[in-house]
Subunit: 636 residues, 2 copies
């Protein structure tokens, strides 16, 4: 089968994820549409759609929101496109068509399309590329346009965006009269690769490559721009930002550590991988591998979260992974999934799928409430509500998910990710199909001219049973490559296989109805950090399958730091209740340090513990039962 | 003897502290004078003296520095006054006289004296009492004036400042045409009590009481002021500050927790205690006790540091004492010493001297380098230079002491404290003398008309031997009350005594040459935090005598978090070397977790340790041997 798997070829039907897909369709997309139209009572005003109406000259008024407000519509339309692919919905498609018409009417005659500058500062287009997100918004709108074209076959949105890109091609580039620059917030690079794939026009790939290759070169564009742009600064305090914040401190091939704003970083790396694969650029591929190692070997939380500090929402330094002052933005983990998906495609190594899965089942899902109505931006691994309310150092850490944000990047990002989940499960190669995620679904593909359907049934993350049934006419020879997850110690399978790059490979002739079954070891695992992670020395975290678990005050009382999970304590499965019904929780006989009365400082250590029945719940489901303490890492 | 002990009656001659007194005289005072005059190469410009010249019309130019720049001169002059008391120095006195003449020439005809407003915004006097530090500067200058008058007998400075106070008396007060306000930064309250003591004029005490009693009453003055002051804001972002930042959230008698900016808080509490003692106000006394308990039982570091967060340099909440994002400003511990000194006087309980001593020997001394030339503002209990350089959350934590600060409050505060140390050692009462600090010194006093000299010899903190010799003519009956420090388990004494409020009381007839000797147990103590201090669970800190010890990278290598001090490890005394020569260091057979190669997250905990000879050095002496990691709390 071909390398890429279109969303239209995958039908997700999974005990765990189907409810998320349903939530996105029935809750998140309508809710966010209401939000974009300022119709959610009590939520912050978005102004997003209104901005387009004003830009189109159809309403009077001022621009509302962030300079990158347009991107919210881009992400929403992209989610809609994915949703329409898997669940056609005439009303939704009509709504989308109408807003696309509005977008087209807002476009300037020369192709320019950014409501902030159209409404507010038409004279300052491209004067503040570092901070003003024009290329970022363009990228999101372009991604949406490609997705919408693929989903509906309607080309209008795509041609609007293609016209915008053709205009951008005149603005940026190596010619003397062009801007020798690149975006402050990366995103358009990966979007341009999608446009290249869709149209086959190499100029789009070339522009993506230009942005990437120009980045961090001397003379540094952002510094040059700063000299020329006068008072057109749009982010107070941003002029203090270091080049590293924008990944502009060095040419990308010389960057050895994941650095700066984490979302920007992984969007850039994703674009780098996209360009490297399409151009066969080996040095760029190697740069991607180096940066992925930097993240996953030294700068990633056990939950797949990235970004260790609120300042610049950024990476800091190796092994610096504080659990309480953490950033770990939902969007950053979405971006890490993008990056891992490209690396999977580049190198075909299942280890990248382990990363993708870790981010998905933990940070990305934790970003949304179980009812799909509220969102975290920051995903802490340790929460003491008193600290988050009273210590300004932790004020960015919310203890309760919010309805909408002034900077509303995360909710629509989760929506588009979950709506396109089908794209992450399978990957093709000439010899067959690779299964990267163990998510119940059906894949349709053709192999050597023959149509094949592969049915995956999966109990993950509830249980380790996974099976595949082939549907075809006659016999088809292909390799079924099933990822053996990092969390599965033992795997039993009713058919012989060999291991290759982390996959269990069954290369054989398949006949209709052939089924292979796997049983993955889902025992609870005690996970430890590298001792170089200061915060976690002496601590343990529980995982089962891909899920990270945590302690919540609701089950375990206050002062979770007093709790210990002894090394020999047997951890047992239990059934979640209430909103956690259907989920496996974990129970273990722990200990709780008794808070003996005494002075603040004393010569007798407090060592008396009493038994404490501990209950661990999946991290993705935390903070769905009211406000309280939470921790992932527990003293052992 | 009378309750107060004047500095002129105490001569410090102590193996440990004399070098500090010498440093203040020979290094700090001259260095700071150069700094105030902008003559330190490479240091930030102070502009302080120049501001006075400009205000006096003797130089052209703009105001330099912070709105509270005058206070640096106040603190310096106060230190000079103390130094002149114990070490007469004609040149220094002449320099001081000259600058006092300059101060007098800068004073406005109506008595007003604040160079910022004289030079920069004469029309905005008293319009922004919350943020503009006029009363704060006035307080510091007044303290200096009182000290200078006592030191030299010269009244000029005092009469300048008294004239300023008489003018302030017309500005603030309950009359309809007066401002019903109080300072944003407390300080003047305690200074006014000193002026009251010096002059006997009750109006100054009344004004101090007015400021204290008015504070936090409804309608809230700062909010009222905000409505009227228009654009005269002097601290960007300060308008976001909560009333708690200024201790103005409630009337002082209703404040149950030490709150807000820690320096402001302890200056206020000191003024409260001063007023309460002089007015006999029992409810105010009780408020002081409550606030002191809040600090010392729930909000103080083991080093006597206070202030848990950089945001607002403030207290946060009970048991929130992070070691690495800590504030623990040097000035705050100086202020805690002021407060403890008043409480000692109020209640005569040696426990307050324990607090005073803890702050002095640890945070206050750590604030200055061993050579007296560089200063810490923030005093962390855990330092990883990488984190402090690369994680902006910790950027306020410096790993190397600085020469001078744009906001230069700490260096002169340490100077005036150390220069007046003699005031902290003894306290009189009708029946005799209390010894609060075990510092080698001679006290001259008269008891029942007879002149007495008490000679204290002390090996603290090197060793626990302390002796007292009485010098008098004939026989004198008085009670010698020697504080039994919290750190002394066993005490042997060659004379009988009874315990009273933490003092060993020897009430008897003394003859010339009578000597009593004490031997205080100076064994190394393992100290533990209340288990409610999250950061220190499972950790131990070593103390010996009043000194807190710490591990430094210099002796123990990098990654101090990998080090453990097993509960049974014997800790032995050793001799410090190099700049630590003469100090006792501690050595112990510890363990160091071996950093096994492996992934960031793994199923096998890293438990293999190898022996590590640990060296602990006194906390006050840390960061005198280059930059490196440091920690006070060590895993046990």
């Amino acid at each position: 089968m071909s390398n890429s798997v279109g969303l239209e070829n995958v039908h997700v039907s999974d005990r765990f994820f189907s409810r998320y897909a349903d939530l996105v369709r029935t809750e998140v997309i309508p809710y966010q549409w209401a939000a974009l139209n300022d119709r959610v009572p009590g939520a912050e005003k978005s102004g997003c759609i209104r901005n387009f109406r004003i830009a189109a000259g159809e309403e009077e008024g001022e621009f509302t929101g962030m300079v990158f407000q347009d991107s919210d519509l881009g992400k929403w339309l992209e989610a809609v496109a994915y949703s329409l692919t898997t669940h056609p919905d005439q009303d939704l498609e009509q709504t989308a068509d109408q807003v696309i018409d509005l977008v087209a009417r807002a476009q300037r005659p020369d192709g320019y399309l950014d409501t902030y500058f159209i409404i507010k500062e038409p004279e300052n287009r491209w004067k503040c590329v570092r901070d003003c997100h024009e290329l970022y918004c363009a990228g999101h709108m372009l991604e949406a346009a490609v997705a919408y074209s693929r989903a509906t076959g309607k080309r209008k949105f795509l041609s609007v965006m293609q016209r915008y890109m053709d205009y951008i091609l005149t603005v940026f580039g190596p010619d003397p009269d062009q801007i020798h620059g690149y975006p402050g917030h990366e995103e358009i690079e990966l979007a341009l690769c999608k446009l290249y794939d869709e149209t086959g026009e190499k100029k789009y790939l070339d522009l993506a490559a230009y942005f990437i290759n120009e980045r961090g070169q001397d003379p540094k564009f952002f510094q040059e721009e700063l000299k020329t742009r006068g008072d057109t600064f749009h982010w107070e305090g941003n002029d203090l930002a270091e080049p590293e914040y924008f990944q502009a401190h060095a040419p990308v091939r010389e960057q050895k550590d994941a650095a700066g704003h984490a979302v920007r970083a992984v969007y850039l790396y994703t674009g780098m991988a996209d360009v490297a694969m399409r151009t066969g650029d080996e040095s760029l591929k190697e740069a991607c591998r180096t940066l992925m190692r930097s993240i996953t070997q030294r700068r990633m939380y056990v939950t797949g979260g990235i970004g260790s500090t609120v300042h610049g929402e950024a990476f800091t330094f190796d092994y610096d992974l504080p659990n309480d002052t953490v950033y770990a933005e939902t969007c950053a983990s979405v971006g890490l999934m993008f990056f891992a998906k490209r690396m999977l495609k580049m190198d075909g190594d299942a280890a990248y799928a382990d990363i993708l899965e870790r981010a998905l089942y933990n940070t990305v899902l934790a970003g949304m409430s179980l009812d799909g109505k509220a969102f975290f931006y920051v995903n802490p691994l340790e929460v003491y509500p008193d600290a988050d309310h009273k210590d300004p150092t932790k004020r960015h850490v919310k203890t309760v998910r919010q309805k909408w944000f002034a900077c509303a990047c995360c909710p629509p990002n989760v929506a588009r990710l979950l709506a396109s989940l089908g794209e992450y499960i399978y990957q093709g190669d000439g010899a067959g199909v690779s299964v990267n995620l163990l998510i119940g679904s059906e894949l349709s593909f053709s192999h050597q001219g023959q149509p094949v359907r592969l049915e995956q049934r999966s109990e993950v993350p509830f249980d380790g049973k996974v099976s595949f049934t082939v549907r075809c006419e006659g016999a088809v020879r292909f390799a079924l490559r099933v990822r053996r997850p990092f969390w599965a110690g033992e795997v039993s399978c009713d058919a012989p296989y060999r291991m290759e790059k982390g996959y269990m490979v069954l290369e054989r002739e398949w006949k209709d109805g052939d089924t292979v079954s796997f049983d993955l070891d889902m025992r609870v695992r005690r996970v430890y950090s590298s001792p170089l992670v200061r915060e976690n020395v002496g601590k343990v975290c529980l995982m089962r399958g891909p899920l990270v678990y945590c302690l919540e005050e609701k089950d375990n009382g206050k002062n979770l730091h007093l709790v210990r999970l002894p090394a020999q304590a047997a951890v047992e499965l239990a059934r979640g209740e209430g909103v956690l019904a259907g989920m496996a929780t974990l129970r273990a006989p722990g200990l709780r340090l008794v808070e003996e009365e005494g002075p603040l400082y004393r010569e007798t250590p407090c060592v008396r513990s009493e038994p404490a029945d501990l209950t661990f719940v999946p991290y993705f489901a935390w903070a769905n039962r009211g406000e309280g303490e939470m921790c992932v890492w527990v003293r052992e």
